[in-house]
Symmetry: C3
Subunit: 344 residues, 3 copies
């Protein structure tokens, strides 16, 4: 594809040699004459001179001249579209592999691809064009929307409902029992977990993540939410739309997360905490049980507090030995002055 | 089932309309006229008035009158029994699916259900009435007791022994090698992990959890212990009976946990630490290598300390800027008073 | 095997009864007369007297006399070799199980063993003598070197390259998409993850660990690195040779780890941090985005700082209430002295 065509497809303007043939994408430091890369920031702009890339997608105000560029309002987003164009994801052959086991009452949509050794139990339905990878386990009465992609070895328990265009990575487990017990006569008896899981459209869930079913009611993940590897979402959590949760974070039971919240990696959130819309939880922070994080607030640390307070406290701690030494020095000085005044 | 029958089955008393037909359970805020819910606390009692539930299971001293209730000493436990009655877990058809691969020397008990694409290797035995889900991998010489449930895609390595009534959730891995190496000539050589894993009766283990085999000897999980999703139990750990471990907690090698200990989520426990019976480890806390947490103690923070100390330290830190400011103010005041006394 | 033979095979000297027959290995407190164990430290040496072991492998300077011993420079390493000799890992039968699905264009080396319900997609190759466990999913165009071992239910995405002698434990997922999105019109659009994963020779990766593919370029794990259960390695990380990473640690995108670094459990490492060779990250520590940990440095805490500073700060904090009390006491004393001098 030539630079001229790429720019046109993006609805963007190019400068330099529009006839340069582009075969692929690469990071700026590795890109060669037949590859396109991008610059997103001032810092990266300094790399532009050294890059052998055949074409760079650059910000509108990029100043470096003398090379072949495409200008874009959002270079990273434009570049993402170019990757999708030049490296389209593989399209698995539609059809059910001969080793897959599909229950008689399951409904398999048009163009669905089901891989080797996958199984779909009674009463489930798979929407048109969805890919179910090798070894996936779809329980009974599961609904999966159209255009989704379950990578190999995903497990879906009975009754889970999944929207359209959902991507589930390998090893993730959707709908396992929530963690609830009742102590009776010195033993924990199971509090039966008979609720549901609902996953909205265009959600992506990472490898080996776990979304537990509700005890009663529902655990739900809102439209467009993006959940990274090994995240744990406990029973009865309600995750809003377009929420981002980075790897290894854990949400206990009944946590509510508002739309567009951003949650870092390895965060721990206690039972029934409420994270309001657009709040930002810094990586590794700990949110206490029933805590409310206000909309738009940025919190950090354990127990989590506003980022400014957290940084102040860190600075105070770092300064503390010096502060104490100074206080002691001043006290000693006062004592000396006092001694000189006091009668011998 | 009518309220009258439900109460009788629970061995409890009802008030109101015993003929109300109950078809299911629901959380109190969602329950309708054909559903039963429960109240466990004063706080929840305030929700009772607003609830449309056909019946409520309530504490013995519940005061709200005028509706259909069942009184119970432990409403949540009674309600759990009711869920089990009204929503019994699905009973998979006994039998071995035609696509499962069972070694010639494996012994499969009566009424066992083995799902599609599961495999059971040489010399293993599955106790009567146990369910082995689709895609489960049972290694060689594994023993699994009666009445258990392995959900889909569970992996059991060779030689693991599992008791009766054990529930294993999808993706959990029992008996993988412990993490042990010997540095030789600049390379880590494997310290062969030839020990065992033993899982007691009525244990439940969450999705994607990992219980490593011992290097030598045994890793063991005591009867009735409940382990949540993505918990890591390292080689040679000895977990007592009726221990609870919440999600994403990790135990290094050789940790000993006493009976009835309660361990929160995302806790980290160093090698050979000893958690005595009925100790409580707060979520996110860190226990240092070889540390002993005394029986019944409640600890918090990293490094973990008694909850009271932890809270005091948090409060001290929060107060610190004010404390330092006050000390400085008093020093300044003393200086002024001194200056007035000193000869000019 | 007799002690005499064992010593000879180790190239070591024995003392005592060389004719003692040794059938197995055991930890020192459990070993019986037909078992060998080892002593590595002064502390363990005190256990020697009480041990019923038929033979002990001991340090060169071990003083306890009167029993059958083999002296070694590195007893634990010698013992590891003995375990490997007396308890060799099972050798699966070479051959492809009849239920496995191997693509027509896949190349399967000599002596390879492929278990039940495994699948190998188009264009992949499995090196000689490698074991592929039951239910493993090998994507398209994957290369796996000779002499490796994939335990049951491992998932490898398309295009991953794995060296020789690599051990992958059950449930690990290699090559899932990195976590990268672009916000457009209020929605997160996927930043396509079209890079690769390369795993060096003799790497071992634990159960349910996740190694994500690069966005562009490569995520790589150096030769001989050992990675524990449930570790998350994000897109574009470059892990050096002989690096050790303990369980549940997470590396965000683009982290670089130098050779021989040692990373504890539950560590969190922010985007693009750089851990230089032989650095040591204490368990549970947190490394901020873009932070550099210098070669050989030992760091601890969150945010991570040199161990000495961390310990000092802990001590300061513990001492703080006493320090403040003392300062207040001295201030009060000065006030009293001043009052006596001041005119009434």
């Amino acid at each position: 594809m030539r630079v001229r065509e790429l720019a046109q497809w993006l609805g963007a303007a190019f400068e330099g040699d529009g006839e340069t043939e582009i075969a692929g994408v690469a990071p700026i430091e590795l890109a060669g004459p037949a590859e396109v890369s991008f610059i997103n920031s001032r810092k990266a702009a300094q790399q532009a001179d050294a890059s052998a890339a055949g074409c760079l997608i650059v910000p509108m105000d990029f100043a470096g001249g003398g090379r072949t560029i495409i200008r874009a309002e959002a270079p990273r987003a434009a570049f993402a579209r170019v990757i999708g164009r030049l490296h389209p994801p593989p399209q698995p052959e539609p059809g059910v592999h001969s080793t897959a086991v599909i229950a008689a009452t399951a409904r398999i949509g048009e163009g669905v691809s089901i891989g080797p050794h996958a199984s779909v139990a009674e009463g489930s339905s798979i929407g048109a064009g969805t890919t179910v990878g090798a070894g996936c386990r779809i329980g009974a009465n599961v609904t999966i929307g159209a255009g989704g992609w379950l990578h190999a070895n995903v497990t879906i328990y009975d009754g889970v409902r999944i929207g359209r265009g959902v991507i589930l990575h390998s090893g993730c487990v959707i709908g396992a029992d929530g963690f609830g017990f009742v102590m009776e006569n010195g033993r924990y008896e199971k509090f039966p977990q008979v609720g549901r899981v609902e996953i909205g459209d265009f959600v992506e869930i990472g490898a080996n993540a776990c979304i537990d079913r509700a005890a009663l009611g529902v655990t739900s993940i809102g439209e467009g939410a993006k959940i990274d590897n090994m995240v744990h979402v406990g029973h009865n959590c309600i995750i809003g739309r377009h929420v981002v949760i980075a790897a290894q974070t854990g949400l206990s039971g009944g946590v509510v997360v508002g739309d567009y919240a951003v949650i870092g990696g390895q965060v721990g959130i206690g039972d029934k905490a409420r994270i309001e819309p657009r709040a930002v939880l810094g990586s590794g922070c700990g949110i206490l049980t029933s805590k409310i994080v206000r909309g738009g607030q940025v919190v950090w640390g354990t127990p989590a507090r506003p980022l400014k307070d957290y940084l102040t406290q860190l600075a105070n701690l770092a300064r503390l030995p010096g502060t104490l030494k100074e206080l002691r020095r001043e006290l000693a000085e006062l004592k000396r002055r006092l001694s000189r005044l006091e009668p011998a």
